[in-house]
Amino acid sequence: MEIPMDVAGSKSSCPDVSTLMQSLQQALALEAKFQPKLQLPSIASNTGESGEITCAMRDGAAHVLRCLKVWYDLPSAVLLDALNMMDRFMSRMKARPKHLSCIAISSFHLAACQWVDRVKQNNNEASSIQGPLQVVPEPQDLVTISQCKCTAGDINRMEKIVEAKLACLPQEEPVTTLTFLNLYHSLLSTTLPAALQPDLLILSCKLETICCDANYAAFPSSLLAFALLFVEMKCHQPAIEVIIRDVLSELQRLVQVKDDKLSECIRMVSSVMAPYDGYAQSNPSHRQRLTWKLSRRTLKQLRPTEKLVNVLPTIEENRQFGQVQKRSRRSRLTPHKVRPVSPGAVLSSLPLPFPTKEDLTSFFDNFVATSPYSFRFLYGLEEESPSTA
């Protein structure tokens, strides 16, 4: 079970309530500094070079980062930090769509580097985390895997730009919704029995999903984390429900969350969570257009029936060949290549490979010059140029 890290760097399994309260107040104070103010249009006003980054594009990039996080076995914190940096950057700079992937990947790399540095600093905790988590993925590797159209050099340069623009201090961890979620979870674990405590890992996944939707930026991080808790901790028996409600309202008072803002936020969270919990497919506009690169050898031999250029005309069962009036059934198989000839055709009009008399005589006249085993015209093989699919 991944042990969550909070700002103070102490394990939440043995929480000290006063320390947690202190951390909470610190986080609330820093909240505004790290709040992204995304103002992305929902539809592209101008496509192409001079266009703007839309919400859908941003969400698509966020999903790519989410997949990368799983790919490199990194914790939720890295993803949330990356999204936070990316969104704050785009709040300040009007970026063009062609730079979006570069911004996203560099934010991700930056977040990963910072996280690893922080982990190394907290040496006691480092031993509890297994090996691969401490390795930061190389920019070249990131570029290749994510299929973004930039180079490792671009990533490095963009990273410096982002760092400069956001005035990041290396030791300063951004205060994101995850920060608040961890704090709330720790606080709840001090008051609620273990059975009622929500699973932090599942909550983190849900939080990731919410943050992949651009609308999350409209709400302060503390509110968002609380709304998620509110929605998730609903499904219990009425007697227990009362206890939970009490605890949550206490938390609400602590964090100073207003009711009307809360209900608005809850609506947003529910609308994002509903398809997720329903095991639904993601929005088509968020899907990445992937390139499938294959080796030459495999490309030459994809489907066995590719080699069939012509097939013999169909012989209907119970009917004599040549008596069939209608055209023979076209196979669904490579319809553009396989063309059954209608029966009854005169021999000379049959397409290759059947040779005509002229073919035969010329073949034998030329056989000395050419190879006796020249098979290409029989099976219509062509030189194939290797290509990516």
């Binding site: 999903h63 790519v64 997949c67 799983v70 790919w71 691969p132 290749t144 895997i145 299929q147 890992l201 996944c205 999903t209 997720y276 095991y279 497919q281 968020h286 899907r287 990445q288 992937l290 499938w292 690169k293 050898r297 495999t298 031999q301 994809l302 489907r303 066995p304 029936t305 590719e306 080699k307 069939l308 097939v311 013999l312 005309p313 169909t314 012989i315 209907e316 069962e317 119970n318 009917r319 004599q320 060949f321 059934r329 196979s331 669904r332 198989l333 059954p340 005169v346 021999l347 000379s348 059947f354 008399k357 035969l360 034998f364 190879s371 006796p372 085993y373 098979f375 029989l378 699919a389």
Partner: protein, 479 residues
């Protein structure tokens, strides 16, 4: 059969001073008759219509004579006459109307029989690899020219609008067909191509012979699969079968379904599958288009014959699976998805990069993707562990990139399930690591025990702990 040396009537065993001519490598039969037999006959077009039939038959009989083509200078005139005759006859049949009278049929068949039906020579190269080597063609090229002309002639005969199956069936009988089928083992691909078209027409026109032909083809295939694994004409026969399958009436007869299961599927297990895989796959897919309920049996059959050691064949099988999936209905897909994707996940994990590549490329097929999407809850858990493991371990970067594509596709398909599977996989991995650690710890303790034991009693026999000492070198790690 050479013109033998003169035999001494007094001493039949006297050795001939003449050196024995070299044994013929080709199957050319020839006739050592007098050249007087092959007088040039007038052209058919120069003869009045009433005499054409008789002249036609005479020419046909002339063409029954064979020649020694190994010796290029022997009987030059005769060979040329025969070749010209055949060329003329081909034109005559194609252009003329009413030339196919009843007496002509047996003559034509006799010409064909004498020219074509021969025992095929044994292969010069028994280790002939059809993909690598060129086939050894007939020793003499002019002989081939004649043979091809005869085939063409036969085809035009069958194709002629005047051809009447009612008369033809008297001369084209089961014996004739049997001999024709034997010729399919010829090493000459052009000859096989002719034979393919010829047999196709015969099957098409003679309904009475169809069952016999199917049965004989079955026999050939079964002998090929279970006894010899050698037959050159499998792909041509399969092409003919493809056109037959395409014309099956519904509902399919039991005989046909049995043919699919007992003959077509086992054909997949032969070593030289690459020679005829295209045609075989075409046949299988045609069957499934006719009767989708056969899908389950076909896929299970393929999984049964799945190649375990030959990676080239595995790639072919994967290509065939994709073609089959292209025509699989969703209701059928559900029946086979589990065993199929278990096999695919094994292919994806294969260290042979072509196999893994081809298996991963299935996800680029839109229709297959839609089938997977509908059943993602069943398929993702099967594929996930293999994919996740390979993303870290595979040596080939192309494969790793393709795995990313597939994982990303899965994430887009069903993110909640994806998250659940990731979490499950991680917890399982951690459990495994914990167990490994415990095991290492146990070995370490045992080793310490052994050292302390030795220190206390240095003279004691170390046999009892010898086993432990040896094993200390390499504690077993369960992968």
């Amino acid at each position: 059969m050479s013109a033998g040396p003169l035999v001494d009537k007094i001493d039949p065993f006297k050795r001939s001073p003449k050196k024995k001519p070299k044994k013929s490598q080709g199957s050319s039969r020839y006739h050592s008759g007098s050249e007087a037999d092959l007088q040039p006959l007038p052209l058919l077009k120069d003869v009045p219509a009433g005499e054409q039939e008789e002249l036609f038959i005479r020419k046909l009989r002339q063409c029954c004579l064979g020649f020694d083509f190994l010796d290029p200078v022997a009987d030059l005139k005769g060979k040329e006459i025969k070749r010209a005759s055949l060329t003329e006859l081909v034109d005559y049949i194609t252009a003329g109307r009413g030339v196919l009278t009843e007496p002509v049929y047996p003559e034509i068949i006799r010409t064909i029989t004498s020219n074509l039906f021969r025992t095929l020579p044994p292969s010069d190269n028994p280790d002939f690899d059809p993909e690598e080597d060129d086939p050894t063609l007939e020793a003499s090229w002019p002989h081939l020219q004649v043979i091809y002309l005869v085939y063409e002639f036969f085809l035009r005969f069958l194709e002629s609008p005047d051809f009447q199956p009612g008369i033809g069936k008297k001369v084209i009988d089961q014996k004739f067909v049997l001999q024709l089928l034997e010729l399919f083992d010829s090493e000459d691909p052009r000859e096989r191509d002719f034979l393919k078209t010829v047999l196709h027409r015969i099957y098409g026109k003679f309904l009475g012979l169809r069952a016999f032909i199917r049965k004989q083809i079955n026999n050939i295939f079964l002998r090929f699969i279970y006894e010899t694994e050698h037959f050159n004409g499998v792909s041509e026969l399969l092409e003919i079968l493809g056109s037959i399958i395409n014309g099956f009436a519904l509902p399919l007869k039991v005989e046909h379904k049995q043919f699919l299961v007992k003959v077509l599927l086992p054909l997949h297990k032969v070593k030289c599958l690459s020679l005829y895989h295209a045609q075989l796959a075409y046949c299988v897919v045609q069957f499934l288009e006719k009767d989708p309920s056969l899908t389950e049996e076909v896929i299970r059959g393929l999984l049964k014959y799945w190649p375990k050691t030959c990676s080239q064949k595995e790639v072919m099988f994967l290509g065939e699976i994709e073609e089959i999936l292209d025509v699989t209905e969703p209701a059928q897909f559900i029946k086979i998805q589990e065993p199929l994707f278990k096999q695919i996940s094994r292919c994806v994990s294969s260290p042979h990069f072509q196999v893994a590549e081809r298996a991963l490329y299935l996800w680029n097929n839109e229709y297959v993707m839609s089938l997977i999407e509908e059943n993602s809850a069943a398929i993702m858990p099967i594929m996930f562990p293999a994919l996740y493991r390979i993303s870290k371990e595979h040596w080939n970067q192309t494969i790793v990139a393709l795995v990313y594509n597939v994982l990303k596709t899965f994430m887009e398909m069903n993110s909640k399930l994806f998250d659940e599977l990731t979490a499950t996989y991680k917890t399982e991995r951690q459990k495994e690591k914990k167990k490994e650690k415990e095991r290492d710890e146990l070995w370490r303790k045992l080793a310490e025990l052994e050292i302390s034991h030795r220190r206390r009693e240095p003279s004691a026999k170390t046999n009892a702990v010898g086993g432990v000492a040896l094993a200390k070198q390499s504690p077993p790690t369960l992968k």
